[in-house]
Amino acid sequence: MKAHALYGAAGRLALGLIVPLALFALWDHQARNGGANAFAFVSAAQVGRALRELLHSGDLALAYGSSLKNAFGGLFWGSLAGLLTGAAMALVRPVDWALTPIYHSFRQVPLLGWLPLIGLWFGSGDLSKLIVIGLSAFYPAVLYTYEGLKGVEARMLEVGQLYRLTAWQTFWTIRWPSALPSIFTGLLQSLAFAWIATIGVELLFPSGFGLGTVMQHGQLQARLDIVVVCIVVVGLTGFLINLLVSRLSRHALRWRAVRS
């Protein structure tokens, strides 16, 4: 039974590796034997060399650190502002009425579409980056905080009424905890969007020194090996961030029944 399961897992892994390996072999072959677009392909060895080079010079660490700083700075301010805005909209009705149309009309503009305008206003330095990344984290934070706080069940609020809780006590013991799952979902989205926005902003505003900047330089110098290294790092980071947040939220929401 156990051996069979193990065999199954190994077989599945082998199957899953076929396609990536085949693609990899094709790519490597193209790079070495020169096809129609040979200049566009780099061999695995070259990518490995680029990675070593970037690690050695410390460029990768520097760029990575700077990108993370941008992403988390934007995430912090954006989701904090989003949390407060969403909560104000959910709890104070006139605020809801006044902000909902404005929120929805601003949200229609594709995020990076703000860049030229913000570039004109705030230059192409770190402040502009922070604003756009913050904005990307702001939208989901507002939406999910609002829906979470608005979605509290009336029957739960009634229990608070029965035991004569004040508005403040009701907020902290009932509204907030029951909104938390939604708020965590929003945070997860904010995080993902902040990371995407960071890369986009760095590609478009090549000032400073982030992963996006390194990719941009790699592209200009036709160094595909560098570009590939950066893509892998960006992808891995996105994956790790998701993992981290879902672990965190699972811990904070351990009161929920585990669903299979």
Binding site: R12, L15, G16, L17, I18, V19, P20, L23, N37, A40, R93, P94, W97, A98, L99, T100, P101, I102, S105, F106, Q108, V109, P110, L112, G113, W114, L115, P116, L117, G119, L120, W121, Y139, P140, L143, Q189, F193, W195, I196, I199, G200, L203, L204, G212, M215, Q216, G218, Q219, A222, L224, V227, V228, C230, I231, V234, G235, L236, G238, F239, N242
Partner: protein
């Protein structure tokens, strides 16, 4: 727990965007900021008017929308097929799942330098990047939608000895269409976002190029027209899709969900 009357709500909802406009107007009329920093609403209107009369806006928009159509069509179409194949064939899923999951982690924008190196900066690059953006949400939601059809419904069909065509037409498709459509909707939003970003980076034509040129020439009025048009188009695309969605699934209770 009683709030304001509906009329109070309407008043506030209508007044708040007006207040923003008035504030904007007031700030420019009082010359709080120099015109290079904040142009007046009238100037933006004038720029809009001249962009329309010279046919420039129509040309940019036409190019952008054509790209969107191709990229989105190819991307979400192949995403649909891919998702179906993943859901229906275990072997296919085992072959492609690892690659699919890995690529999913990388933000689309990070692929821009790579795709520029491989495809150059021509039309092909833009269509490929839009297609890539549209591919994943549709593929993922199709996969989830088909896999998520409850077993219980198949059992109901077996009890009534439902023939296969009827099973597909009456059960399988209605059960999966909502999930697939919400994925397609997300694909459309993503495609528009990435299109604008790509046009900002490789500025040769399209609405993004118009904004980028405006920025480089310090034409704040043109940039603002671009921001507004990009927002309105994004809104119209999404609304149009939601209307279509509503027509295709009239049996569902109206949903108020919003795509992030």
């Amino acid at each position: 727990m009683s709030g304001g009357t509906p009329s109070a709500k309407t008043v506030v909802t209508m007044a708040s965007p007006l207040c923003v406009l008035l504030l904007w107007h007031g700030l420019t009329a009082a010359r709080v900021f120099p015109p290079e920093v904040l142009v007046s609403p009238q100037a933006v209107l004038a720029a809009f008017d001249s962009l329309i009369r010279t046919g420039e806006l129509a040309r940019h928009l036409g190019e952008s929308l054509q790209r969107l159509l191709w990229g989105f069509g190819i991307g979400s179409g192949s995403g649909l097929l891919f998702g179906l194949a993943m859901a229906l064939s275990v072997t296919f899923s085992r072959l492609f799942d690892p690659l699919f999951q890995a690529l999913r982690q990388v933000p689309v924008l990070a692929f821009i330098p790579l795709l520029i190196l491989v495809f150059g900066i021509d039309e092909v690059f833009k269509i490929v990047i839009i297609a890539k953006a549209a591919f994943f949400p549709t593929a993922l939601s199709t996969l989830d939608g088909v896999r998520g059809v409850p077993k219980a419904w198949f059992e109901v069909a077996r009890i009534y000895r439902t023939p296969l065509p009827a099973l597909v037409w009456r059960v399988l498709i209605p059960a999966t269409v909502p999930a697939v459509l919400s994925g397609v909707r997300l694909s459309l939003t993503r495609a528009w976002l990435v299109l604008v970003a790509a046009e900002l980076i490789v500025a040769d034509s399209g609405i993004g190029q118009m904004m980028e040129m405006g920025r480089q020439m310090f034409r704040l009025d043109v940039v603002m027209v671009g921001v507004i048009v990009a927002g309105v188009i994004g809104f119209a695309l999404d609304r149009g899709f939601v209307l279509l969605q509503a027509r295709m699934q009239r049996w569902r209770p109206p949903a108020t969900g919003a795509a992030a």
